[in-house]
Symmetry: C2
Subunit: 125 residues, 2 copies
DNA sequence: CGGTATCCTTTCCGATACTG
DNA sequence: CAGTATCGGAAAGGATACCG
């Protein structure tokens, strides 16, 4: 029941949509934050939640499930009481972390400039 | 009338939300595609639209406006008939393009593996 | 050509309640 | 602790019509 390749003209160049879709997934802010945090090592659910900050339990769960499905994160359950679950990056996940880290560094370096530009655009006085 | 810093516990670590927000913006798939395409040089609206593929006129307009507001893209209008509008990256935009390109390369290199992982997760037979 | 305005559907995502 | 289930408002985003 998947979209069987929606209206795509034969005349247009290579279909970039699979790439767009993939970028939409991994470009997701929670995904980026999650992978970045997991770089520090295996981390438990609520620990991750606190590290990221501002993420709801549902969103973190959904993000982690998607990452697990895609083979970027692995989930290790320790059947203790109370239960303990550790998430960690797979090799594939670690390979993605590198470009994501570069992106985060860019944000840290340039967020102030962007916010200034944005303010100038609002108040061009 | 902006959100004046929503509920943030004092006990939590540094507030990552400005960074999350910024990542949510530039991590947007249309934004990534647009900036990547503009790396090839100044490009006209419909040209860009065709290059990206699968983007509605509205979304491309919105994406370009946002990028312009943030100072990542500049817009040059030639008052010819018919009108001609060229978009190009600013220096700031070009600096962002580098990490984004790395990300796109990762996607190209790993999309097949991810899709296999995803299929395996659906059919674990 | 390069938009803007409007409508409308789909998806996102937070809040809440409940579970092993 | 680490979830799952359900709901509802908000936001994203496509389709269409129209304009300079």
């Amino acid at each position: 029941m998947d979209l069987p390749t929606p209206p795509q003209q034969p005349g247009t160049s290579a279909d970039c949509r699979p790439i767009s879709q993939m970028l939409g997934r991994i470009g997701d802010k929670w995904t980026i934050m999650t992978i970045t945090m997991l770089l520090k090592g295996p981390t438990r659910f609520n620990q991750l939640r606190r590290m990221i900050g501002g993420v709801s339990q549902q969103m973190l769960t959904r993000t982690l499930r998607a990452l697990e499905t895609d083979g970027l994160v692995s989930r290790q359950v320790y059947p203790t009481i109370p239960p303990q679950v550790e998430y960690s990056l797979t090799d594939l996940g670690r390979s993605l972390a590198e470009p994501l880290t570069q992106l985060t560094i860019w944000v840290l370096d340039n967020i102030e400039q962007v916010e200034r530009n944005r303010a100038d655009a609002t108040q061009p006085s």
